[in-house]
Every structure is written in structure tokens, then in C-alpha cells.
Assembly symmetry: C2
Homo-oligomer: 238 residues x 2
């Protein structure tokens, strides 16, 4: 009985079941726990004394929402997050999460037509949280992100990716070679097929899957230690 790696379709189905009438979760709850797990993973690996300045890169979908939640928690943890969000999401929750960050006095790079602001931000960052694309991403990569990803890579800053490294196919991994090469990956709910190719430090978060769902999909999730919201997969009892 080994840990299940999810296809894009199965990840989508589990997400829908969690938020169905039967699952009864709101997106606010799940995103809060997911984003908290992302922030805690970054804090576990990159000490805030040595890596205080976190560039949180958010995509326009739910993955970007996780990033905004993580940015807020990182601010509460004493980091100095900056949000880079070239295509803000249009959903109400996305805008509320952004306002919560504003209230935390977290700086957001204003949208612009050039990448100069991103370049400048990278020179004054210590680590990147990549919350650009999640399990609903399908190649090819579109503007402006086709230009953003290479800049993140060229910065040579350490990268923590959420759920699947941005630019990777959810199932085939970095087959096209245009994806990020993060140092740390935090899979949410369960790892995705593509993450089998990942060789850095791999964490799991999203400690909210009810037993019924875990059994239904034979996820064989590892044991989280104590009351932690994350577990490092290489160290877990699988």
C-alpha cells in the first residue's frame, strides 16, 4: 500500500468532492489550511533570519489564492513577503485574500506591461514561493508567464513550489523543459503524478482529507507528526 500519486482528473475530483454538499467544505477553509501549510513549509526550510524577503508569485487561479494566504501567514511569521501577481484573479475570494494582505501591510508589485518590476524585486528577494500554476494547468504556457518563469529560474534564488512546479505538466512533469526547478515542493492533499520526477525536499500539506475520502480513493496518506500541518515525505512512514 503505497502513497497514491494523483492524475489531474483525480485531483480535480477530490477537490470537487471536498467542496460538494456531501463534503461540506468551503473553499475558504481549504485554501486557508493549504496556504498555511505552504507558509509553514517555507518557514521549515528557509529560516526567516537568513531568508527574510519572500517573493510570493501568484497565478490567477486557486493556486494564486493559496499563495495569497501563504503570504499573509508569512507576514505573521515575521517574514517580509512581497506579492507578484501579474494577472490577478477575478473571483471574490481572491480579492478578499488580497485585501487581507493589504491590511497586513504586505507590498504588492503593481501590474505593468514590462517585467522590470519583477527583475527589480528578484534582486531584493531571498527566496521565491511559486504559486503560479496548480493542478488545473495545461501547457502550453501563456504570456506573461512564458517570460516570468525564465526570470525566476535565472535569479538562482531558492524556489518553493506549491503542488506542482509551475510549467510542469501535472502528469508528465517537466517534459517540455520549460518548468521551474524548485528546491522544495509542497504537494497539497496528495502528490500529483508529475511530482514523481521531483528530487528535492518534498512536503505534503492539506491535512483535511476525511478518512472516508482517503479510503474511497486509496490515497494511503502518510502519518502527519503530532498536530503539524505538514509532513516531509522523505521522512514519513509511508
Amino acid at each position: 500500500m503505497s502513497l497514491k500519486y494523483l492524475s489531474a482528473k483525480l485531483a480535480q475530483q477530490i477537490d470537487e468532492e471536498l467542496m460538494s454538499a456531501a463534503g461540506a467544505f468551503s473553499i475558504d477553509q481549504l485554501m486557508e489550511l493549504a496556504g498555511l501549510a505552504c507558509a509553514q513549509t517555507l518557514a521549515r526550510v528557509y529560516d526567516r533570519q537568513k531568508y527574510p524577503r519572500v517573493l510570493v508569485c501568484c497565478g490567477p487561479g486557486n493556486q494564486g489564492g493559496d499563495g495569497l494566504v501563504a503570504a499573509r501567514h508569512l507576514g505573521l511569521f515575521g517574514y517580509q513577503p512581497t506579492i507578484y501577481m501579474p494577472k490577478p484573479g477575478s473571483k471574490d475570494i481572491y480579492q478578499r485574500l488580497k485585501t487581507q494582505c493589504d491590511n497586513m501591510k504586505i507590498h504588492t508589485i503593481p501590474p505593468s506591461n514590462t517585467l522590470d518590476d519583477l527583475k527589480t524585486a528578484l534582486t531584493s528577494s531571498d527566496v521565491i514561493l511559486d504559486a503560479i500554476f496548480g493542478f488545473s494547468y495545461k501547457p502550453p504556457i501563456r504570456a506573461p508567464f512564458d517570460a516570468v518563469l525564465p526570470l525566476l529560474t535565472e535569479s538562482k534564488l531558492p524556489i518553493v513550489s506549491v503542488d506542482i512546479p509551475s510549467g510542469w505538466d501535472v502528469e508528465k512533469g517537466n517534459a517540455e523543459g520549460v518548468g521551474l526547478q524548485p528546491d522544495v515542493l509542497i504537494s497539497l492533499t496528495a502528490p500529483k503524478e508529475g511530482a514523481r520526477q521531483f528530487t528535492g525536499r518534498h512536503f505534503l500539506g492539506g491535512r483535511f482529507v476525511p478518512k472516508m475520502l482517503e479510503e474511497k480513493f486509496a490515497l494511503n496518506l502518510p502519518e502527519y507528526p503530532g498536530s503539524d500541518q505538514i509532513v516531509e515525505l522523505s521522512q514519513a512512514k509511508l
Copy 2:
């Protein structure tokens, strides 16, 4: 600059500001973080090997909602929670949180007109989580809780109270002498005036107060350690 203890009115005002259009939090988010902090506090003090069976007592209001969130997380932490909820809340969120517990296979004592079920449950519990009344409670205590509180006390089980021990006046404390005498208190957002009388282990949770609000109300919150969601007040840098 010392930690501020809140009046009932101020606690209410902070809650409203957090959830206003300007504060932008949903009750789902705040309750999730609050309930998680309650579960983590119980887990910090009462080891699941020695105290596996937690009786989670929920009132009909938001405090009861925190209890339901805590019950779910305690289940995920490996405890065996049982929910006692003689007057279920009518709000939609309350019912969703209850469904989430059902999906975790957490047992809820069915409502009845007698206290026999509670008495039986107490004989097979190791610790009580008291999420009956919160900062909107005003004496006198009403049925069935006027009979429930003495039973909890008589059980001599250790009690972890959420925000303010049930039966205490939010400002005057246990002036009427009908309140619980918990071993552990987890204050949420900031401690309430009445908690000054509390002499057991005192934790703070609700690590979501934005700097702007903390400054506006001069809360002088303690520093939470690392990425923890709780801080023990007696050990905090105040």
C-alpha cells in the same frame, strides 16, 4: 505596554472589523484558524496516548463552531473525539462543520431530554474541550447548560476552555461561582477581562490579527514562536 484584556464590547468590535468589508475575512477562515488553535492547545497539554478520548462540548453559537473545527482537527491528530451538542446551532456554517465531523467518523451524542448520555460519555472520556459559551455569553446560565456545567465539573476530568471558561462573565470572571474551573484556557485573538482571574495554563490563539488592527486597539499581542498557531502566555515575551 502590556497585553490588552478585552471587554465583551471590544471583543465584539474586533470580530466585526475582521469580518467587515475592510477586514475582508470570512467566518470560515477565522473559525478554521481558531478551531485549529484550540485543537493544537489541547494536543500540546494532553498527549493523545494518555488522553485519547476528548469530549468536545459545543454551544449553539460561534464558540460551538470553533469546537466543531477543533473536534475535526483532533480526529486528524489521532484523538478519539466525541461531540456533545445539546443545542445545535442553526447557522449554515454550523451544519457544514457538523457534516465535516460526520465525514471524519466522529461520533456525536444524539440530542435527548435527559443528561444520561452526557453522564455516560463522561465516564468514557479522558479530557473535556469546553466550547460552550464565548465572549457573547451573558449570565444567567440557561437550560440545559445550567445542569451540564455541574456535571462537567463533577467528572473531575481535565478541562480545556475556549476563550472564556463557560459560565464565567466575560468581564467579571467567575463572580457568580457557577462557571467551570478549567485547567487550561485558550484565549482567541486576545484574552478577555474575565480571564485575569484564571490561574491555570493560559494560551493565546487566533494568529490572524492584522498589524493595522493590533495597533488601532493597542492589543500588544505577544510574539508567537516560529510558525506556531498558539503561544503560551506565561512563557511569552510580553
